[in-house]
């Protein structure tokens, strides 16, 4: 098992190489809607992560018990149970955040990242890796949201976590906290991530070719 699943690799996949938002383009609705500030983004990301970890755990546990024909319905029931729990917890302990996220907390039920991980990972893998997958993908989601929220809050309000950082002379560009700003910023972020991935891929390829050449050269020298 330790050879098949590596937590480090899962984290790397979730945060960057296979980031649910920036690469798989899942969960666009909360991504675009609640990232008007870092606080909101972080709250949304962590709430979804908690749900994802719990649902991955339970679905993986029940994966041999749930009949194939009704699996989606079963997943949704499990997910919505956890979402309700999270919603009540947030209402009790983080009321301000609960107020600003509003409808988007119950909407975590239909977040495609959670359903996608249930279907693609938790339903066919053992419990521990499924929990790890939940952690990795959830952190990836949170990372993307916080990045987006940071850019939008900084440009659109001149603040970070509500603290003014750009000084009083900065005139906030309202567009960035309005919906078009979300689309623009997300598009540019996706483009940047894609660029970085391409560069990394090229580097890997070049390194491989170099290694091959070296071994070929070495072979030739031996023959000589």
């Amino acid at each position: 098992m330790s050879t098949k699943y590596s937590f480090g690799k899962q984290i790397r996949e979730g945060l960057f190489e296979n980031n649910p938002v920036l690469v798989q383009l899942l969960g666009m609705c909360p991504t675009l809607a609640v990232t008007t500030s870092i606080t909101n983004a972080l709250g949304m990301g962590l709430a979804a992560t908690a749900v994802l970890i719990c649902s991955n755990f339970l679905i993986s546990l029940l994966r041999k018990f749930i009949p194939k024909q009704v699996r989606i319905a079963a997943y949704i029931v499990i997910i919505s149970g956890f979402v309700t729990a999270i919603e009540l917890l947030m209402k009790a302990y983080f009321y301000d955040l609960y107020g600003s996220l509003g409808l988007f907390i119950p909407l975590i039920v239909v977040n495609c990242i959670i359903l996608a991980r249930a279907e693609a990972f938790a339903s066919r893998n053992p419990v521990i890796p499924s929990i790890m997958d939940g952690v990795a993908m959830g952190l990836g989601f949170t990372f993307a949201l916080v990045l987006l929220g940071a850019v939008r809050e900084l440009l659109g309000a001149g603040t970070l976590f509500g603290f003014a950082v750009l000084g009083s002379r900065y005139q906030p560009a309202l567009l960035f906290i309005q919906p078009p700003g979300a689309f623009l910023t997300l598009g540019l972020l996706i483009a940047a991530v894609q660029k970085i991935r391409n560069v990394m891929k090229d580097k890997k390829k070049a390194a491989k070719q170099n290694a091959q050449k070296k071994s070929e050269n070495a072979g030739e020298e031996e023959q000589a």
């Binding site: 005139q171 906030p172 560009a173 309202l174 567009l175 960035f176 623009l184 483009a191």
Partner: protein, 324 residues
């Protein structure tokens, strides 16, 4: 490379027009309106326009340099974008707004989509809508003949008194506030380049004569606005007077003649252009009458820009001898 043989498919008709000459013609045709703005709003109008043009050219050069693309700033298209952006700002616009708008127009709207010929929206208009991020600054229209000197980079609060534009006054029911003649000649408040309908029309005629634009879009656009305005004349007003006021106020002339006719973001067939212009007209009238903003020219042109792909599809010419 003159020593190379140029091989290309027919028709082999040579025309001296290049991007540079076309853009130079547009710049020339905009100059009278700029000089008039200088007379009405003071020489700061030139500062704003020049700042926009220079920063547009700079950002075009910078992005092309960074993206390792061929540097094409000499084709003047960025300068035209900058000049049009400046024309869409009030003469009180702070310097950083000109720079931010230019960066948005060139980097995001034009170069991110592949540079000249590949943007799907008019960069200058998109930047103007982006600049609504600062609602106070973009609608701080000075009263006409309240002249600001060109060296004033930051405008003092007292100078940036927002005066209601004719369209806002008409929306508010003050029909007598401006006369149609004032609107036609441009003795009114507003953005730098939009005030004088007469000078914009002269520029338009120059472009028509030089065959830079065709008549289809401006005529369809202005015609639709005129026709629809006829249907909604407020009580106690002459139809002709009201229609003239609608045609000459706001950015309609500037938009219909210089913005909607942008080659890249308008259809290529005559029928498509008529449809495009009519669509702009309908949207403008609807926004002016029912919208949240008093002026809808920029929004309608941008909306129609994004529909050009569909217009091209339904107005595709029939292949000669082929089926419908």
């Amino acid at each position: 490379m003159p020593e190379l043989l140029t091989v290309c498919p027919s028709p082999h008709i040579k025309h001296p027009a290049t991007t540079t000459t076309v853009m130079r013609d547009v710049l020339i045709s905009l100059t009278p309106a700029l000089l008039w703005a200088c007379y009405v709003f003071g020489s700061r109008a030139i500062t704003v326009t020049a700042l926009c043009a220079i920063s547009c050219v700079f950002f075009e050069w910078l992005t092309q340099k960074l993206l390792h693309r061929p540097i094409t700033v000499a084709d003047l298209s960025a300068a035209v974008t900058g000049m049009l952006l400046g024309f869409n700002l009030p003469s009180t616009a702070p310097w950083w707004m000109c720079v931010a708008g230019s960066a948005f127009a060139i980097v995001l709207v034009k170069q991110m989509f592949g540079g000249i010929g590949k943007n799907f929206m008019n960069p200058a208009l998109a930047a103007r809508v982006f600049l609504f991020s600062w609602p106070t600054q973009i609608s701080a229209f000075p009263a006409p003949f309240h002249r600001l000197p060109f060296w004033q980079l930051t405008v003092k609060e007292a100078d940036a008194i927002a005066s209601a534009t004719p369209l806002a006054q008409m929306r508010g029911g003050e029909m007598d506030a401006v006369s149609p003649a004032d609107l036609f000649f441009g003795r009114v408040g507003g953005c730098i380049g939009e005030i004088s309908a007469l000078l914009l029309l002269i520029g338009g005629v120059y472009l028509l004569v030089r065959r830079v634009i065709t008549w289809h879009i401006p005529v369809a656009y202005l015609g639709t606005v005129a026709l629809l305005s006829c249907l909604a004349v407020p009580a106690g007003m002459e139809t002709a007077e009201y229609v003239l006021m609608q045609l000459c106020s706001g950015g309609l002339m500037l938009g219909a003649i210089f913005m909607a006719t942008d080659y890249v973001t308008s259809p290529i067939t005559s029928r498509g252009r008529l449809l495009f212009g009519a669509g702009c007209g309908v949207l403008t009238v609807l926004i002016r009458r029912f919208g949240g903003y008093v002026e809808g020219v920029s929004f309608s042109i941008l909306i129609m820009n994004s529909l050009v792909w569909y217009i091209e599809r339904i107005t595709r010419p029939r292949v000669f001898g082929g089926d419908r």
